[in-house]
């Protein structure tokens, strides 16, 4: 196979490196030295290059398509439009509303209209430019008012999806209320302090560094092999097979090197397109988006408008919360329904509130489609409810941390959905940890020579950084706090499971474990963790991780902070079954009888007292024990459509942040000086990776607070589709991030662990904004905060 081999095939030979150790990542050095093979590096002799022609309009009728000139270009092997699709014409994660190629209408700028395969990427681009598409522009629906106005264009007429019946307008994808107690009656009671606010969250991009790319290789059996950077191989396969008109077993996927995901690879991008071109031409087809195309090629985080009303007693006990959360889902549903479920059910935050009236909904508009991004509906809500908690603290004359502490949930608390939190929920403790940490020194950017009195400043440590915008003039410090709650795993009754195949055998006189899953390693460190689990459970040192592909059962998505819990759990579960089988073989071979206290350690079967019964290789002889098993978390329930009640979430994760910022109050420039976190992770399976996740999540949250926004005009067009103007934090924007990790076991989870990756993304944003409010005295209802919001 002349395809670059998957970098996931790694043998990890470190002798220590079980659960609880900071085993090094097998892909770490390769990535740092630039040797890691990403999906954009895939190569096949004889391959063609695919290119996508996209709509320049946010909403238009297609009145004609002429591909003749494109086909006539030498080097072009195929041009495909909607009319060439062989089977199913639409796909989608939750609702199959997205055309593989637009037929008569385009609903967002950048929607795919036609495909070209050519022998050179430049030829493919030139050919695409020769396709003539006639458009008749249509009115653009771009916000709640325009989407639900009388006579508004209905973007998806004739909906039959499972949400269509319960929404008030066909341009609403899904609406979820959550009702508990009687918020209206509570609001009418006397002697309640009430604060209200409306908050806006801009459209954030996942900004992964490896653009969408993959290679489709047609097979002699009529099927296709797709090498792809994705988050969930089997959900891609499930969507691709009907589009290609093939049975699933003929659509085989192998994970290629993934350069980040953060939710943006949950939906299909170029997968179907590359496969269609490969099957049409009989040649391998590679598609790689460039950075500009990538901004149009994946979903973004839902922008949101959130209206909140909090009421509390004078001594700071929350009495009621009323909220309305409007999420802009853009042109297609993607995962909007699940995002709505999260925003609604987590909408009041990690607080005990007796009376709740929350509704969340997602709109269909002609803006870019929005879907999964780290934090998934909980990010938007957290910015609003934490802004409200600060506002309430001000109104009550209470310290903001003290107000949070008084209302914090703990184990045994009931969520607004009626779900009782049946695992540790140390919210007050997390707040205490970040509060009690010493503050970083003031004016660290300034030094004075004791001899001469000469003052020097280090601009790198000042707002504005290298731009030399200031030397300390008007710099004011602020400190802000936030705490948040995020669900782990797929919720609302979804049958969420992972599969692992584990084999143990003697190789060269040494026991070796091989772990095979379809888990997408997107940088989260799952391949490291799987080897750690196999070492711990099987007592071996040599573990081989096979490339992820669809020849083994589904591992579910690398999202929702779920993979260490779920596929890690599957590896553990299968290792336990393999171990039981090894011990049974041993009992058979050595006649040690039914002994339940035996375990595997250091390549041997040992008793609880440490007595060695046999070497593992002698137990195995020439045989291998090889099992493939599924693992499920405990079942959840859908939320009731009118009350939002239900045991909807598998597990909750909690993180608290304290942000220290310095603001140049004359220019409105912000320097985040420190972002201290405290998070409960249940069990740190790999402590270094846990801290890395908390750092990464916090940095992405900081980006939303002060930098990152896809700016979309009222015409539905993206105004900054480049890393020149979509700004993500550099190292000078990224502060010191001390972390306190708590390990309070969740008895329902493997090793007691708790998903880590998303909770810190929630809290960094409101903590940074709270600190900016403290520094500037400004109300700040919108993120990202821009310099012009802070001056004038």
């Amino acid at each position: 196979m002349p395809v670059i081999p998957s970098p996931a095939r790694v043998t990890q030979q470190s002798h220590t490196g079980g659960v609880g150790t900071s085993a090094p990542r097998p892909d770490g050095t390769l990535k740092v030295t630039g040797e890691f093979a990403y999906s954009s590096d895939l190569w096949h002799e004889d391959m063609l290059w695919g290119h996508t022609l996209r709509s320049p309009h946010a909403h238009a009728r297609i009145t004609g398509v002429d591909v003749a000139e494109a086909l006539a270009l030498p080097g072009v092997h195929a041009v495909l439009t909607h009319d060439d699709l062989p089977a199913a014409t639409h796909y989608g994660l939750e609702i199959e509303d997205q055309p593989v190629l637009a037929r008569d209408v385009v609903r967002y700028q950048g929607e795919p209209v036609a495909l070209v395969a050519a022998d050179h990427p430049e030829t493919a681009r030139r050919a695409a430019a020769r396709i003539r598409v006639d458009y008749e522009e249509l009115p653009v629906v771009h916000d709640e008012a325009s989407a639900t106005a009388p006579g508004a264009p209905v973007l998806h007429p004739g909906r039959t999806d499972r949400h269509a019946a319960h929404v008030a307008h066909p341009n609403i994808v899904h609406r979820q209320p959550v009702l508990r107690g009687d918020a209206d009656a509570a609001a009418a009671t006397a002697d309640i302090v009430v604060v209200t606010g409306t908050y806006d969250v801009g459209m954030q991009d996942q900004a992964f560094l490896g653009p969408e790319s993959g290679l489709a290789v047609p097979d002699d059996d009529g099927g296709v092999d797709l090498y792809i950077a994705t988050q969930w191989l089997h959900v891609d396969q499930r969507q691709l097979a009907p589009v290609l008109g093939l049975p699933p077993e003929k659509v085989r996927l192998t994970l290629a090197g993934v350069g980040g995901a953060f939710g943006a690879r949950e939906d299909l991008s170029m997968q179907a397109h590359a496969c269609l071109l490969a099957l049409r031409t009989g040649r391998p087809v590679k598609i790689v988006y460039n950075r500009h195309e990538s901004f149009f090629g994946h979903v973004h985080r839902h922008p949101a408008t959130l209206t909140y009303e909090h009421g509390a007693t004078r001594d700071g006990r929350l009495v009621f919360v009323r909220a309305r959360i409007v999420l802009d889902g853009g042109a297609y549903a993607s995962s909007s329904p699940a995002v709505v479920g999260n925003a609604a059910s987590l909408g009041v935050g990690p607080y005990e509130v007796p009376h709740v009236d929350v509704e969340a909904l997602a709109l269909y508009t002609n803006n870019p489609p929005c879907g999964a991004m780290r934090g998934f509906g909980a990010v938007q809500a957290c910015f609003a409810y934490e802004s409200q908690m600060d506002k309430l603290a001000d109104a009550l004359g209470l310290d903001p941390v003290e107000l949070r502490r008084r209302n914090a949930v703990s184990q045994g608390s009931t969520m607004p959905t009626g779900q009782v939190i049946d695992a540790p929920a140390p919210v007050a403790e997390l707040l205490r940890l970040v509060r009690e940490r010493p503050l970083p020194p003031e004016r660290a950017w300034e030094t004075t020579d004791p001899a001469t009195g000469a003052r020097t400043v280090d601009v790198r440590a000042l707002p504005g950084g290298l731009s030399n915008a200031g030397h300390g003039e008007g710099v004011v410090r602020g400190v802000g706090y936030a705490v948040g709650i995020k669900n782990v795993g797929f919720s609302e009754g979804f049958d969420d499971y992972s599969t692992a195949r584990v084999r143990v055998e003697a190789v060269g006189g040494e026991p070796v474990a091989t772990v095979h899953t379809a888990m997408a390693e997107v940088g989260q460190g799952g391949v490291t963790v799987h080897a750690q689990i196999a070492r711990t459970e099987l007592g071996v040192t040599r573990v081989t991780i096979l490339p992820a592909d669809t020849s083994v059962g589904s591992a579910g998505s690398t999202s929702a902070s779920r993979q260490t819990y779920m596929t890690g759990g599957a590896v553990k579960h299968t290792c336990e079954a393999v171990r039981a089988e090894v011990l049974r073989l041993g009992a058979e071979r050595f006649g040690w009888g039914e002994r339940h206290t035996l375990r595997l350690a250091d390549g041997k079967v040992v008793t609880a007292e440490g007595e060695v019964m046999a070497a593992l290789v002698d137990v195995l002889g020439g045989e291998a024990v090889d099992l493939e098993l599924e693992f499920r978390h405990r079942p959840t329930q859908p939320f009731d459509l009118t009350t939002g009640q239900g045991f909807g979430h598998v597990q909750y994760a909690f993180c608290a942040h304290r942000a220290v910022v310095e603001v140049d109050t004359e220019l409105g420039l912000v320097k985040v000086v420190e972002l201290a976190a405290a998070q409960d992770v249940g069990r740190a399976v790999n402590p270094a990776a846990v801290v890395g996740q908390i750092h990464g999540g916090a940095t992405q949250g900081l980006g939303l607070a002060v930098l990152e926004e896809i700016q979309v005009g009222p015409d539905g067009r993206i105004r900054n589709p480049s890393f020149t103007d979509y700004l993500i934090p550099t190292i000078l924007d990224t502060p010191a991030m001390p972390v306190d990790v708590l390990e309070l076991a969740d008895e329902h989870a493997p090793y007691g662990l708790r998903g880590v990756g998303e909770a810190p993304t929630l809290t960094a944003t409101p903590a940074v904004v709270a600190a900016i409010r403290r520094a500037t005295g400004r109300a700040l209802h919108r993120v990202p905060v821009r310099p012009e919001h802070l001056v004038g």
Binding site: A454, R455, L466
Partner: protein, 297 residues
Amino acid sequence: MDFLRPADWREALAAKAAHPDAVPLAGGTDLMVELNFDLRRPARLLDLSRVGELADVDTAGEGDTVVLGARVPYRDIVERLRSPLPALALAAHTVGSPQIRARGSVGGNLGTASPAGDAHPALLAAGARVEAASVRGSRLIPIDDFFTGPKRNVLADDELIRAVHVDAARGPQQFAKVGTRNAMVIAVCAFSLALHPHTRTVRTGIGSAAPTPVRARAAEEFLDGVLDEGGHWDHGRPVPPSAAARFAQLAASACAPIDDVRGSADYRRHAVAVLARRTLHWTWSAYPAPQGAASCA
């Protein structure tokens, strides 16, 4: 696309004369981005990487003038020319990332002539001259006359930029920029100020706040008058706050900014005023004798 690779300056000028549509390529930090994103498809590229003299810095020439070769990278300006060209060195340090600073050059900045080019305000404040050449001969263009519109300059089709002539600083100079990120950011606006004690004048440069880089001439004239009348060049005492505020206000009124994804017009005017006031304070604090002048990393 033809790729022309002249071996020396004479060949480069001949090639540009033969192919006036050829686009010069030096560091490629502007041009390659445009090519990669298919924003521009010139028929010919003129690669200047083999023309060695464009990478020369001549500080021994006429008087105290630095002759900066067109493709001397920003990194070298930061590392080697901080003393004779303080404003330009500060500006160079704000350009992109270390990788970009290792390739990008002032010649390229001038060729692109973007209103956001980081070098321009510093060149305006210093009073630089652009040495343009063609097979017809060479000329020195005062920087004030160089920019003619957004991404347009005064160069003829057959001309190439050989060097920039900048007088070594005889007084304090500053450059300050506003960007929404703390590094690797295009200017929302920028301001540069140079004191020229030998002529008892000041010069300014504004970036990203008008269709071209511009000087704040009214602000300069006002400040020249204040400094002269108050005897500041002699006694070195600070400029009165009211005069500094007026200077800042006049700098802001020299702007003709737009609203765009990077910032609003109002914010740009406001920020230019703040930068004008600050750079005046910084430069004047360093005059006449540098006494622990605020240094920049």
